[in-house]
Subunit: 629 residues, 2 copies
């Protein structure tokens, strides 16, 4: 039993191996309280909502314990599975008897709902039994199955019970029987089952699950589900050059393909993943790590199509982005994937849950006039349990290891015990990250002496330096892992110093939405201007690009570093009643004010009001043609 | 028989009366060829497509002449009606025996398809007869009826046949019986029938049609069709403060409400229209007069939500905008409505049809990377016959009259005979409008001596002067009608001189899509930069805001005034592989080039390539932080 999120321990083409969630103890002010809130608030309230909305009753109904109609959307089973998965990983990290009882009871309901032939989907029971597998493109049957498999693996790896795993393998066998080699040529319209099948293979060793995952990827591009770019079915996966279509589906598919790659080493699969990754991060990803520009179809847009107010950027897509990059990192050990994973985790994904842990965003705009509100639940409730499971993954994503040593992937004050070189090492991280850029890692080897410690130097760092026991250890290049190889002795301390900013970012000039605008970054965090911190309408501020400063604010939003600076507050009264006017014809008086920016993940937790991530820059056209100091 | 588009001749609360299409003869280089192409190309090819796609067969089927299933979308009848309407107005303007035969044959098929009880909708026949009027929100039955009524009125007023009018009144009587006072409280989900009922009332004098139109407006806001802002059913029409929802529906509803107002003079109805108009033109209308920011639901967006690449701006919505403003102008005689009408006509609407007259845009983006292409037809083909009918309206929108005199609303070289003060006047317009700003109107009174000539001074004019027989007649304020009142003598000439620009426009700073960007206007025309005229990628040009010049180009796009100027061609190679970077960190070398802009209406008629309406301005941030000359 090893509580690892993605188990590459025996994957021949994975460079890194994960470290169990249970081997890490968070002691920081950022993640530790979030994990606690996950267990005490998020998961219990989500369970209540799963009950209240009939999602668990659907299982009782399928088991014959309840009468009445199926309730809700046809893929609602997946919300229950994702909740179980999140709860199981949380239990791997933190004992909680109440949560354990809840999960056990839900798992019992799930298991009881399974058909004798292994099929399990509460929508396709009784009156809809005859419709099973008749509309693979739209009805998400394999998608739901995938979430079941992931929940089952999480349960087996975290608390050791194999009840759900047995149900999962029975269902996987059923699917293999229907869609495996020589069977029906089926592909699911909503990828997810691919990565789940690989994980199930890793857990139980049944190679046919890997084979089925491969088949489900290779069958794409032949029009089996309509042949559209929206479903990434217009070309074989290995020939894809652009990431298109429904954002979550596309990224889950990439997760699955990355998992298959780590088992098979297929170079064409890797080449496709590499192309899609570059297309995403160089042309289609929000500065927050969010993905999906369009409301219509919850889809990825064209290259450089990154609207702010109308960003869709579904919470699930940012979660999926983090999950994909975690896999790409495990495959390669390359720091660029850890950068994107961290970006999506701290920004695009984390914005999806309130500071209180019980309110959510489904859609994550990068600018708002004050209308976008957090909700306790959604009819389509994929996002709440998805952000829950991502938070539960965090302890398991802090470290990874290779034959050469230990990789520090994410920084947080914590203690961890990591197997390395036949022995183990206890690592004690002391840091106020993400609020400060100094990280001390104390190394306590046990039964091992020489190995490498790879410190991630984030690409966002303006500069970085590493010291070992107080002595400079050479230049540290942002966007890489810095290797410290030595014979370690108890109490050795490696110290990483990162210059966090604050930094103004601009975007590629073809991102027309951001012309003459800048976003603020501080360390791994993207900032926004929220009305609550600024007296003046934040859509009418033009920030002065010099003199930004970071300021620790323990009172604000649970404790954050705020970024402050000067801005011109534009008086737009001259524009009253006008939408267009000759350039420079409208007088826009301006006065200088202080602005305060807060981390994007924390927005929407106070009174509603305007918000912007990409703030207008002062000193350019756009303020009535005046050039302002 | 009076071939007027909207017959306010007897409307007690209309300030202006229309002038028949048949009283105007275009002699210009802009509209005259378009009217000819309408008759020779657009209407015949559309007729072929109506046949090819089964739209006319659906009528034959309903009449029992053909077997087989209904073909196409459930509202396809409306395309046939709109085509008949366009063809009838075209016949009012130009004799064409071939077109007349086509229309007569289509009308015969329509009339033959009517049920004995007056009902007429080819989708709801035979197997679907039982579904009539069961889903008013979605099934567009009254919408189709409205288009029938408009076609019937056009036929009666243009070529005098009353066959279709008889069918229309039978159907209107049927609807009145079902939904009139004391009947079912129904409201159609897609407004259109309201204005059509008022026009039918004006044509045949049956007051119950006006009454029904009123009812259909007044019943909104009570949840009869779901109560959503999308359907403008969330509040009574008279209480609406914001224009929301499906763009075409919203604007058609406003057309109907304006028509009802002109008959009833209800001040609350006017107040609502006034609020919605200001909300539209001050917060939600594209610089082209296009309307509808969102693909999802073809909807109007929030205030200032005016994306460019992803503008929806359906051709039908620009047509509807012109139609609404024509009615607002007739109601009031206020120049502001003529300004918006002209804007939508020359830009947002006209862009919807190719220069060749047989290719169309349904969606009208204001920026494109070269993917958006004109099509010969659409499955949902509302736009092609809609732009056809608007072009056919043009001769009837050049002039209007009041008790005091004649209003010149649109400028085009033409001859017209207008009834005024018990006599008439022949007006000869000599002008190269929209390419030049000089308009001479020669006045030839017949049996009338004193009356006013109201010359529209467009709001876009940078300055304007009026002369009568060579003598200055006082200052002319842009955005008004300039009144010349005198005892006219044969050969009197009024000369209007308009300074057309070119002018750079900026937008309200809350239109975040246009920060540091400008659009080019020349006279009534909005321009765009198209790849075909510019060697450098037009998304990578930053235009220099000074020194723009207009240049007549007879060879270009059928003859246009091009706007030329200087721009910085940005070399974005430093951005390769990057989407975000610290402000100013990427070098963007620039060289000065000449740019050429062409009228937006003419875009997309050559080889595909990038296009922008809102061009980046030089000398600001966004070019790598450099300040450029």
């Amino acid at each position: 039993m090893r509580a690892v999120i993605v188990d590459t321990t025996s994957s021949p083409f994975a460079r890194l191996r994960p470290v169990p969630v249970s081997s890490v103890r968070l002691e920081d002010g950022f993640w530790a309280p979030r994990l606690e809130r996950l267990v005490k608030v998020t998961l219990p309230t989500q369970h209540e909502l799963l009950e209240e909305t009939g999602r668990i009753d659907n299982f009782r109904r399928a088991a014959g314990k309840l009468r009445g109609p199926f309730r809700g959307l046809y893929f609602n089973d997946s919300d229950v599975y994702k909740w179980v998965e999140a709860a199981q990983w949380a239990l791997a990290y933190a004992r909680d008897e109440g949560l354990k009882r809840l999960v056990d009871s839900v798992v019992a309901e799930i298991v009881a709902a399974q058909d004798a032939d292994g099929y399990l989907n509460t929508y396709f029971t009784f009156e809809r039994r005859g419709e099973r597998w008749t509309n693979l493109r739209d009805m998400h049957e394999m998608y739901c199955a995938g979430h079941l498999f992931q929940a089952a693996v999480a349960r087996a790896r975290s608390t050791g019970e194999t009840d759900l795993l047995a149900a999962a393998t029975r269902f996987a066998d059923h699917i293999y029987g229907v869609f495996g080699p020589g069977g029906r040529e089926g592909v699911d319209g909503h990828p997810e089952v691919e990565m789940a099948l690989v994980e199930l293979y890793r857990q139980v060793g049944r190679r046919e699950y890997l084979q089925l995952a491969q088949l489900l990827i290779e069958r794409r591009g032949r029009g089996l589900i309509g042949g559209s770019p929206y479903h990434l079915d217009h070309a074989p996966f290995k020939q894809l050059r652009e990431i298109t279509g429904h954002a979550v589906r596309a990224l889950y598919l990439c997760c699955g393909a990355a998992d298959v790659y780590m088992e098979t080493g297929d170079p064409e699969l890797w080449a496709a993943l590499d192309r899609l990754w570059h297309d995403l991060v160089e042309r289609k990803m929000y500065v927050t790590g969010g993905v999906g520009s369009r409301y219509e179809g919850e889809a990825i847009g064209d290259a450089y199509e990154l609207p702010n107010e109308r960003a869709y950027a579904e919470t699930c897509a940012a979660v999926a982005n983090a999950m994909w990059n975690w896999r790409m990192l495990l495959a390669t050990g390359a720091a660029e994937y850890a950068d994107v994973m961290e970006l999506a985790l701290y920004n695009g994904a984390l914005a999806g849950i309130s500071l209180s842990g019980d309110r959510y965003f489904y859609v994550n705009p990068l600018a708002d006039r004050g209308r976008h509100r957090r909700q306790r639940w959604f009819e389509c409730a994929c996002c709440p349990p998805n952000i829950a499971r991502l938070i539960a993954y965090v302890p398991g994503m802090l470290y990874a290891r290779s034959g050469e040593g230990v990789y520090v992937v994410l920084y947080a004050a914590s203690r961890a015990r990591v197997e390395v070189g036949g022995g183990a090492v206890e690592l004690v991280q002391r840091t106020r990250y993400p609020w400060e850029g100094v990280v001390e890692v104390e190394v306590r080897p046990e039964g091992v002496d020489e190995f490498s410690l790879y410190l991630r130097v984030p690409s966002w760092a303006r500069s970085a330096r590493v010291e070992v026991n107080g002595r400079g250890a050479g230049p540290a290049r942002p966007g890489s892992f810095f290797e410290v190889r030595r014979r370690w002795r108890e109490g050795d301390v490696v110290r990483l110093g990162l210059d966090m900013g604050p930094t103004l970012l601009e975007s590629h000039p073809w991102v027309s939405y951001n012309t003459c605008r800048a976003a603020i970054r501080y360390g791994p965090l993207i900032y926004c201007l929220e009305q609550a911190d600024n007296g003046h309408d934040v859509w009418s501020l033009a920030i002065v690009p010099e003199g930004l400063r970071a300021e620790w604010r323990p009172d604000l939003l649970g404790g954050v570093v705020a970024v402050r600076g000067r801005a011109l507050a534009l008086d737009l009264s001259g524009w009253a009643g006008k939408l267009y006017a000759p350039l420079g014809s409208v007088e826009v008086p301006a006065r200088e004010v202080e602005f305060t920016a807060v981390p994007y993940y924390a927005w929407g937790n106070r009174e509603p009001g305007p918000m912007v991530v990409w703030a207008r820059l002062a000193g350019r056209r756009g303020e009535g043609g005046q050039t302002l100091a």
